[in-house]
C-alpha cells in the first residue's frame, strides 16, 4: 500500500513543506483565541488556523459550493486538493468508481456559528413571548428560528458532508465513508481506507480527517469536562505533553489527507511514492467513558495489532508520533502502552507529541500526525515535544524535548486514543 501524496491545513502552516519546516523549527501555533470573544471562559487559548493566510478558494469549484461548506469542510477539501496535486493524480488516472474517500469528522452536530446565533436569538425571543417564563416555548422557538435561519446552513452541520465535498471536488464516485470516532477518527479513517483498497473496493482512497471546534460550544464542552489547559497567560507554553506541569490539552483545528494507493496501481501510473502505509491496528478499552484502562492493555494491543498487520518487529520502529495530549492521564497511560507493546525497545526510542505545537486537532489529529511522521521520516529528523521542562517520573521515555533532532529511521508509528476507549495505531515505512 503506497502513500503517494499528502496535504495538510494546520495551525503552523498549510501544505506539507510549510508544515515540515514548522515542525523542524519547533514552532508553536497556540495563541489567545481570536475566533470569538472568549472573555470569561476558563480556557481562552487554542491553536487556530490563521485566517489571514488560509484560503480554500483555489480548491473549490464552482465558488458557490463555499457557502455550504463548514470550517472543517473547507480545511478538508483544501487538504485533499493539496494531497491529490502532490500525488499527480488527475481524473484521467483513475476510474471515478475506483476512487474512494475515507474521512474522520467531528460528530458533535451542527456547531455552525450562524446556527448557534439563530438558536440563541430564537430561544430568547421565544422566552419573551412566554412572559419571560423559564419553560422552553418550543412552538415559538420553531417559528422564530425558521424565519431567521437560512435553511442551507443546516447542511453545513452534517458530519458526512466534508467527505461528500471531497468526492464532489475530486470526482470520487467510489466508497465514501465518514468515521466519527472522536480523537481516533483521523487514524481510523486512514486505516479503514487501507482496508477499502485491500478488500478490492477501490484503487485509490483519499483518506484523512478534518475538524474545527474552536467555537464557544466546542471550547465550553471540553472545558466543562476538565480536559483543557488553562494556561491562558502564556499560550505557547500551554501544550506540554509528558511534562510534569501539564494541565490538559489545547484545542487545535485543521485537516490532513493522504492519497492511499494500491502498490501496483501507483507503480503503473508512475506515481511518486512517499512512503508505505504498512499497518493498522485498532481496539476499544471497553472500560469507562473517558478513563483509560490503567494497565493500558487495550492501547498496547492496538499497537501490537498494527505491528503484526505490517509484519513488523518492535525493533523496526524508529519513531513514535504519540497521541500525547498533555492531559495528566493520557500521557502516563500512553507511556505504559508503549512500554508494554515495544518492551525494552521503548527506552531510547524517540517519542514525541506534535500536539505541543499544533494542539489537539480532535477528529483530524491522527491524520495530521501521520503526515508529521511521514515528513519527518523523509526529512531526516524527529519533531520535538515543546515545553518539556520538568520530567514526570511516570513518563520516562525519550520525548525529544524542545528541539527537533536529526534522525534516520525507516518506520514510524502514530498513535491515537479517544473518548469512549478508542485506540488506533498506524505504521508507515520508508519506501
Amino acid at each position: 500500500m503506497a502513500i503517494t501524496g499528502v496535504g495538510v491545513v494546520t495551525p503552523i502552516g498549510t501544505g506539507a513543506d510549510a508544515f515540515a519546516a514548522a515542525l523542524k523549527a519547533g514552532r508553536s501555533g497556540v495563541r489567545h483565541i481570536t475566533a470569538f470573544d472568549c472573555g470569561g471562559f476558563e480556557t481562552q487559548i487554542a491553536a487556530e488556523v490563521d485566517d489571514t493566510t488560509f484560503d480554500a478558494t483555489p480548491h473549490v469549484e464552482p465558488p458557490k459550493m463555499m457557502k455550504v461548506m463548514s470550517r472543517p469542510t473547507l480545511f478538508a477539501v483544501t487538504a485533499a486538493s493539496l494531497a491529490r496535486q502532490a500525488a499527480s493524480l488527475t481524473p484521467r488516472d483513475v476510474d471515478p468508481y475506483r476512487l474512494g474517500v475515507s474521512l474522520g469528522a467531528g460528530g458533535m452536530g451542527p456547531v455552525d456559528m450562524d446556527i448557534i446565533a439563530g438558536q440563541a436569538a430564537a430561544i430568547i425571543e421565544a422566552a419573551k413571548e412566554n412572559g419571560g417564563a423559564a419553560e422552553f416555548n418550543i412552538p415559538a422557538f420553531a417559528r422564530i428560528f425558521q424565519a431567521r435561519t437560512n435553511p442551507i446552513a443546516v447542511l453545513r452541520g452534517l458530519p458526512n458532508l466534508a467527505a461528500a465535498h471531497i468526492a464532489i471536488q475530486n470526482g470520487a464516485r467510489g466508497p465514501n465513508n465518514t468515521l466519527t470516532t472522536a480523537c481516533t477518527a483521523g487514524t481510523q479513517a486512514i486505516g479503514e481506507g487501507m482496508r477499502i483498497i485491500l478488500r478490492g473496493d477501490a484503487d485509490v482512497v483519499l483518506a484523512g480527517g478534518a475538524d474545527a471546534m474552536i467555537n464557544p460550544v466546542g471550547i465550553l464542552g471540553f472545558s466543562m469536562l476538565g480536559t483543557l489547559s488553562r494556561r491562558n497567560n502564556d499560550p505557547p507554553t500551554a501544550s506540554r505533553p509528558f511534562d510534569r506541569g501539564r494541565d490538559g490539552f489545547v484545542i487545535g483545528e485543521g485537516s490532513g489527507v493522504v492519497v492511499l494507493e494500491r502498490e501496483d496501481f501507483a507503480k503503473a501510473r508512475g506515481a511518486p511514492i512517499l512512503a508505505e502505509a504498512a499497518g493498522y491496528g485498532v481496539t476499544c478499552d471497553a472500560y469507562r467513558i473517558t478513563d483509560e484502562r490503567p494497565d493500558a492493555s487495550a492501547a498496547a494491543r492496538a499497537m501490537l495489532n498494527c505491528l503484526r498487520d505490517a509484519g513488523a518487529d518492535p525493533n523496526d520502529v524508529g519513531y513514535i508520533n504519540a497521541h500525547g495530549t498533555g492531559t495528566p492521564m493520557n500521557d502516563v497511560t500512553e507511556t505504559r502502552a508503549i512500554k508494554t507493546a515495544l518492551g525494552s525497545h521503548a527506552y531510547g526510542l524517540p517519542v514525541s507529541s506534535t500536539k505541543s505545537m499544533i494542539g489537539h486537532l480532535l477528529a483530524a489529529a491522527g491524520a495530521v500526525e501521520l503526515v508529521a511522521a511521514l515528513v519527518a521520516m523523509r526529512g531526516g529528523f524527529v519533531p520535538p515535544t515543546l515545553n518539556h521542562d520538568t520530567p514526570d517520573p511516570e513518563c520516562d521515555l525519550d520525548y525529544v524535548p524542545n528541539d527537533a533532532r536529526p534522525a534516520h529511521f525507516d518506520a514510524a508509528l502514530s498513535n491515537s486514543f479517544g473518548f469512549g476507549g478508542q485506540n488506533a495505531c498506524l505504521l508507515i515505512r520508508r519506501w
Partner: protein, 112 residues
C-alpha cells in the same frame, strides 16, 4: 410593506432579484440576464432555491414558504424542463407575485 419600501417598484424589484441570484449562485452580476437559465446556465441546484427564497424573504420582509415557489413553478411552467425553463425572469415574476401578496400564511407547525 417590504423590508425595503422601494421594492414596490417593479424595476427595483427586478434589479434586487438579479442581485440575489448573483449572490446565491456566486456568479458575476452581468451573467445574470433576463433569460439566463438558473440550473442549466448558472449551475443552480435544489438547495440554491431554498437560499434564494430565504434572501427574497429578507428583502420583502415576509415569510415565503418554499411550497409557494414549487407550486408557482408547477403552474407557471407545466411540463417544461426546469433546467432550462427557470430563468431570471421567472424568479422575478415570482418575486412580484410575493411582493403583491398582502400577508403570508403562518409557517406550518407554529403556534401564532
Amino acid at each position: 410593506m417590504p423590508a425595503d419600501p422601494s421594492l414596490v417598484d417593479p424595476e427595483r424589484l427586478g434589479e434586487r432579484v438579479r442581485d440575489i441570484i448573483a449572490e446565491v449562485l456566486v456568479v458575476a452580476r452581468d451573467r445574470v440576464r433576463p433569460h439566463s437559465a438558473l440550473i442549466a446556465e448558472l449551475g443552480a441546484e435544489s438547495i440554491d432555491f431554498l437560499d434564494l427564497i430565504f434572501h427574497l424573504e429578507e428583502s420583502l420582509g415576509k415569510d415565503i414558504p418554499p411550497q409557494r415557489w414549487y407550486e408557482f413553478v408547477r403552474h407557471r411552467l407545466p411540463d417544461q424542463d426546469p433546467s432550462h425553463a427557470i430563468t431570471t425572469d421567472i424568479v422575478r415574476e415570482f418575486a412580484e407575485q410575493e411582493a403583491a401578496r398582502c400577508t403570508g400564511p403562518p409557517i406550518s407547525g407554529a403556534s401564532s
